[in-house]
């Protein structure tokens, strides 16, 4: 299914740039990818989550090591009407400030003369090693904490960092009175990225099947393999559709179900594709040298973080009105 010429151009330029490694200075300055979905009045381009989603999908396809996703989610989680948010947005848009989100942990906030003081601890804070600001949830509201002391954790997926964050009477500024949209945004962003992971992993696999010869013919001629690939395509297409809908639902009430649904479907598709990829690649897929395991580890990590499938289904059931 085709997309508009503008979206295709954005996708192509993002993909071409990410294949070079995605240097943060060029990513933010020249390409302005952190500014995409931020409003023009706050130093952004005023595009939508649709465009940000295209970029994140390509970042996933490239297994980009970058705080792009974290910074994007941090920026879009802020309520721009609050002064502390408006103060942060231009620097997040320009990329001068790297953002992160810490949503799942224990945290309490109490008012102080200068704002709030936060106590809490978080694990699995993504791509936050260089974060200049972390957006923290106390379960109700979001607060901005400057210069967070994030301790890196050793990770299964070496293309994405995780860290722990301990706050003890840390000064925080109120940036949103509603923490829920930050979870939804994280779900949508991880979902968009997962589509890229699934697509790139499938592309690698298909290329192998079309070229690798056994019994004198390409592997791609064996129906047992063809049907497995077809099932992966179906899952990828479902994931694409769920993400397609979710990024367009941003800003509407239905985003609260569309985003976790997209994460469920897309992370699941990426997990299925990346596991099947290793089987379909055979021995070469089990080597460190081949990228297959990097895709598998990213997909596995994404699937289990920020709501695993069981938690997402439970959440969806609660929000479905069934």
């Amino acid at each position: 299914m085709t997309e508009s010429p503008e979206h295709l151009a954005l996708r192509d330029s993002a993909a071409a740039f990410f294949s070079t490694g995605g240097d943060w200075k060029r990513l933010t300055g020249e390409l302005g990818l952190t500014a995409l979905a931020i409003g023009e009045e706050h130093g952004g381009f005023g595009a939508t989550l649709v465009e940000a989603g295209i970029v994140l999908e390509e970042a996933g396809a490239a297994l980009l090591r970058s705080p792009l996703l974290a910074t994007t989610v941090a920026a879009l989680s802020l309520d721009p009407a609050l002064p502390a948010s408006a103060a942060l947005l231009p620097a997040l848009a320009s990329g001068d400030l790297i953002g992160a989100v810490a949503l799942d942990g224990t945290c309490t906030a109490r008012p102080s003369p200068d704002g709030f003081l936060l106590d809490g601890s978080f694990e699995h804070v993504l791509d936050a090693t260089d974060a200049g600001v972390v957006i923290v949830s106390d379960g109700t509201c979001l607060f901005a904490v400057d210069d967070p002391d994030i301790r890196p954790q050793p990770t299964l997926d070496q293309t994405r960092t995780q860290g722990t964050l301990v706050l003890w009477q840390a000064p925080g500024r109120l940036v949103s009175r509603d923490a829920a949209p930050a979870h939804d945004l994280l779900h949508a962003a991880l979902a968009a990225e997962s589509v890229g992971v699934a697509r790139a992993s499938l592309d690698l696999t298909v290329a192998h099947l079309r070229t690798r010869q056994q019994f004198g013919v390409p592997l791609a001629t064996f129906q047992a393999l063809r049907h497995r690939v077809a099932d992966l395509v179906v899952q990828l297409e479902q994931a694409r559709s769920s993400v397609w809908h979710a990024v367009r639902a941003h800003g509407t009430d239905s985003f609260a179900t569309a985003a976790p649904l997209a994460k469920l479907h897309a992370a699941d598709a990426a997990w299925h594709v990346t596991r099947a990829s290793i089987q379909l690649l055979g021995g070469i897929g089990f080597t460190w040298e081949h990228d297959a395991h990097r895709y598998l580890k990213r997909a596995t990590t994404t699937r289990l973080l920020a709501g695993d499938p069981v938690a997402l289904r439970r959440l969806l059931l609660a929000r479905s009105g069934l």
Partner: protein, 386 residues
């Protein structure tokens, strides 16, 4: 010239409220998969009411139809399903034959056949599958020979939906005995109500009969009732398949939603909803249905149709529907094994479970759909070699 006012949901709703009532009240929620045998005569009459109001051929391009946009057709299907409109009888003519005639037919054929389809005065069935040509459609053996200025058709078709109510059948027949496979086939329009045609219902594992066998024994039709050139039937027949862009699927999904609601209601009533494993499966079914909807919306909004999109969509919905039937049975537990009083009256859950076994077979089995998807991704290979 001012554009026609676009089709509004409120207008469709109002029309349905006004007409799907009185004598047609028993039709609400009737027909459709597994219930195609219900109220046939009344449904045929209902089709004529739909036709008189201009609801048939909505999406045909002008001047043949109303030229409604995809979005407008979606509005109609959605409201029709929401109102519990009965399973359609004229859809084979409307969605399969008519676009074929518009693309490949002669002016005379279009003038002869499109108006009675639009008024639901002539119902159609599709004569493709045969006992020896199911997934391998090119294995068609029904013969068509031209003599005395008429086509004479002899052979057997199978799995023919609605053959018992159809007035006409579009038949894929071998008209060149020397040619094989996809060569030498022709797309013939054959009247059903004549001595050389016999329709025998197939009793399915549901106990009901929505499909038929059709025996042609020297049935005849006019020499000019071949669509496209004689021998070009494969191209004509397969192009029909690409006309379907899935507009109807959004309406179909409202039916799915009702079925899911019934499963949820049953799970709440017997307490299984509180079982976390059942709740997880229900949530998965709900998420899957949302996914089907998002997939259909994306397909309909795409600039140009994806040639394998129909196969992907079929694999998605057929698998989902089948799993729902299995969930419906599991929710009932042991109680799902008891039928209703009567000779072989199934409960809704039993019918859903049993009828959806066909979903992954008819209209191109899952395996054929996977072949089509794989052809695009991995390149085409000749069938039967792998």
């Amino acid at each position: 010239m001012a554009p026609e006012p676009s089709l509004r949901a409120a207008d469709v709703r109002a029309w349905l409220r006004e007409h799907l009532t009185g004598q047609f009240t028993p039709l609400v929620g009737s027909g459709g998969p597994g219930r195609e045998h219900e109220h046939l005569e009344l449904r045929a009459e209902w089709e004529r009411v739909l036709g008189a109001a201009g609801w048939i051929g909505l999406g045909w391009p002008q001047p043949y139809g109303r030229g409604a946009t995809i979005a407008e057709q979606v509005v109609f299907f959605t409201e029709y399903a929401r109102a519990g409109g009965p399973g359609r009888l004229s859809h084979i003519g409307e969605y399969l034959l008519a676009p074929t005639l518009i693309a490949h037919g002669t002016d005379a054929q279009r003038e002869r056949f499109l108006p009675p389809i639009a008024r639901a005065e002539e119902l159609w069935c599709q004569g493709y599958s045969e006992p020896g040509a199911g997934s391998d459609l090119a294995g068609v053996r029904t013969r068509g020979t031209l003599s005395d200025g008429r086509w004479h058709v002899t052979g057997q078709k199978v799995w023919t939906s609605l053959a018992h109510v159809a007035d006409w059948c579009f038949v894929l027949a071998r008209t060149d005995a020397a040619a094989t496979r996809k060569e030498g086939l022709s797309y013939l329009l054959v009247p059903m109500r004549q001595p050389g045609v016999e329709v025998r219902p197939i009793q399915q594992l549901t106990g009901t009969s929505e499909f038929n066998e059709v025996f042609f024994d020297g049935a005849t039709t006019d020499a000019d009732l071949v669509v496209g050139a004689p021998g070009d039937g494969w191209r004509v027949a397969t192009s029909t398949l690409s006309f379907e862009r899935g507009v109807a699927t959004l309406g179909q999904q409202l039916g799915f939603a009702r079925e899911l609601d019934a499963v949820v209601a049953a799970a709440r009533a017997n307490g299984t909803f509180d079982d976390p494993v059942v709740a997880d499966r229900i949530a998965d079914a709900w998420a899957g249905l949302q996914g089907l909807r998002h997939h259909a919306l994306r397909a309909l909004s795409s600039v140009e149709p994806d040639p394998t999109g129909a196969s992907v969509a079929k694999l998605l919905w057929a698998g989902w529907h089948q799993r729902l039937g299995e969930l419906a049975m599991d929710v009932g537990g042991a109680a799902s094994t008891v039928a209703l009083p009567g000779e072989y009256e199934l409960t809704d859950a039993q019918r859903l479970f049993l009828f959806t076994r066909a979903d992954t077979i008819y209209g191109g089995s899952d395996e054929i759909q996977r072949n089509i998807v794989a052809d695009r991704v991995l390149g085409r290979i000749p069938r039967g070699t792998a």
